[in-house]
């Protein structure tokens, strides 16, 4: 169609229609598209929720109940938005683990990966801030715990925290600025996602074999557009099961109690997608050490392109790495479980061992395994 050759529409044609895509990418490659859909869903539902929400400590909780009970389909908007955040993290975690399995972060896609880590950090900040807005007990106390961590910064920590709070505790000023930032950050995530896609499209997608796919590519449309739509259908069904049948399964019941600064919950825990990092934070019995470990657990991902120890990309051809990859997955699941448990024996010891193994895997196993595999091949 000549229309697709016009100046602006030609971008759509070159990147979404006639875009050359490796013929052998499978359903694990659907999750980038699903992540963008989740972002759009969150932005749209968030905008409509913001029309009815009041960011004041005396009115926020009640405004959420007003949305749930009085606003037409407000309950649907709220449940889509709250469960949508969980879905967003599920999709992004699968997307990240796909990248780890097939070594998608290796040259020439290292900057795609680094931008992806930045998007992940922005998502974490946005989700944390968004969880404060309903102003339930977990909102207030989760915000209090995490913002207090900033005071671990030497010399200026306390000043930064006071500046962050806009006062001397998590209160109305904090809620107001968190609402403003929660509205702003998704648009920054959108811009970062477009840059992520643009940098990816410089060299094209990887593939499950990890080899150069320039020898055999097919156009994005219709093949992978329809594959993405099928993946979207399955995702919507999975998402709908939560919205319509179990909308509070992934949440914490304490957040249905209005925030009370005079009553501290017995167990303060973040949402499930933060639990592994929370476990790493609590494993170090030193405030600054715990904060550094927690942040390092995310930033270590950005180092991967440069510490990858072999020229072979895909785990398809690396049986030893495949075994260790699944031990890392089980380590992450253990950390997630421990993050939700109280700080008692034997959970403390398990959390510490799992935290050590997490860093050991990325900083020692990944770089050295390539050399071991090379030795094993030559030895045979």
């Amino acid at each position: 169609m000549r229309l697709l050759k016009r100046p602006i529409l030609s971008i759509v044609n070159n990147h979404l229609i006639d875009y050359p895509t490796p013929i052998n990418i499978h359903y694990a490659w659907n999750f980038g598209f699903l992540a963008s859909i989740c972002l759009i869903i969150q932005i749209l539902t968030g905008i409509f929720l913001a029309m009815h929400y009041t960011p004041h400590v005396d009115l926020a909780f009640a405004s959420i109940e007003h949305i749930m009970r009085d606003v037409n389909y407000g309950w649907l908007l709220r449940y889509i938005h709250s469960n949508g955040a969980s879905m967003f993290f599920i999709v992004v975690y699968v997307h990240i683990f796909r990248g780890l399995y097939f070594s998608s972060y290796t040259k020439p896609r290292q900057w795609v990966w680094v931008i992806g880590v930045i998007i992940f950090l922005l998502m974490i900040i946005t989700a944390f801030i968004g969880y404060v807005l309903p102003w339930g007990q977990m909102s207030l106390w989760g915000a209090t715990v995490i913002t207090n961590l900033v005071s671990a910064v030497p010399l200026v920590g306390d000043s930064i925290v006071t500046w962050l709070w806009g006062g001397f505790s998590v209160d109305n000023a904090t809620l107001n600025r968190f609402f403003s930032l929660h509205y702003l950050l998704p648009f920054i995530i959108t811009a970062a996602s477009l840059i992520h896609l643009a940098v990816l499209h410089q060299d094209g997608s990887g593939n499950p074999l990890g080899i150069d796919s320039n020898v055999d590519k097919i156009s994005m449309f219709p093949y992978f557009i329809y594959k993405d739509l099928l993946g979207l259908l399955v995702f919507i069904i999975f998402f709908s099961l939560f919205i319509y049948f179990s909308p509070n399964a992934l949440g914490h019941p304490d957040n249905y109690i209005e925030a009370n600064p005079m009553v501290t919950p017995a167990h303060i825990v973040p949402e499930w997608y933060f639990l592994p990092f929370y476990a790493i934070l609590r494993s170090i019995p030193h405030k600054l050490g715990g904060v550094v470990a927690m942040i390092s657990a995310i930033l270590v991902l950005a180092l991967l392109p440069w510490i990858h120890g072999t020229e072979i990309r895909s785990s398809r051809f690396r049986p030893v790495y495949r075994f260790l990859y699944w031990t890392m997955i089980s380590c992450c699941l253990i950390l997630g479980w421990i993050g939700g448990m109280p700080v008692e024996d034997p959970f403390v010891l398990i959390g510490q061992i799992a935290s050590v193994y997490y860093f050991f895997y990325f900083l020692f196993i990944l770089p050295l395994l390539g050399k071991i595999e090379k030795f094993l091949l030559e030895f045979e």
Binding site: P20, I23, G204, S213, N214, V215, D216, K217, I218, S219, P319, R322, F323, Y325, W326, T327, M328, I329, S330, L333, I334, W337, I338, M341, E344, D345, P346, F347, I350
Partner: protein, 75 residues
């Protein structure tokens, strides 16, 4: 940096199969292929089974030990 080789894009070939010839689920329930498919999937089990076993073992041991340490009679 070496010059980039433009990708080879396969031409799109359209063909139509008569609805009287194609099968709705293809070879999903093909009995002859069942064992082959089973063997293909079992290879993956060898890779992820140790991770699953480790998680299950740690989870079970952790919860039972915590329960034992929480009660008055610890041993």
């Amino acid at each position: 940096m070496p010059p980039k080789v433009p990708p080879y894009i396969r031409g799109q070939i359209e063909y139509f199969t008569s609805p009287y010839e194609q099968r709705f689920f293809g070879d999903i329930f093909d009995a002859k292929l069942m064992m082959t498919k089973f063997r293909r999937h079992m290879k993956h089990v060898r890779d992820f089974a140790p991770g699953v076993i480790i998680f299950a073992a740690v989870y079970t041991w952790g919860n039972s030990t915590h329960e034992r340490l929480s009660r008055e009679h610890r041993y």
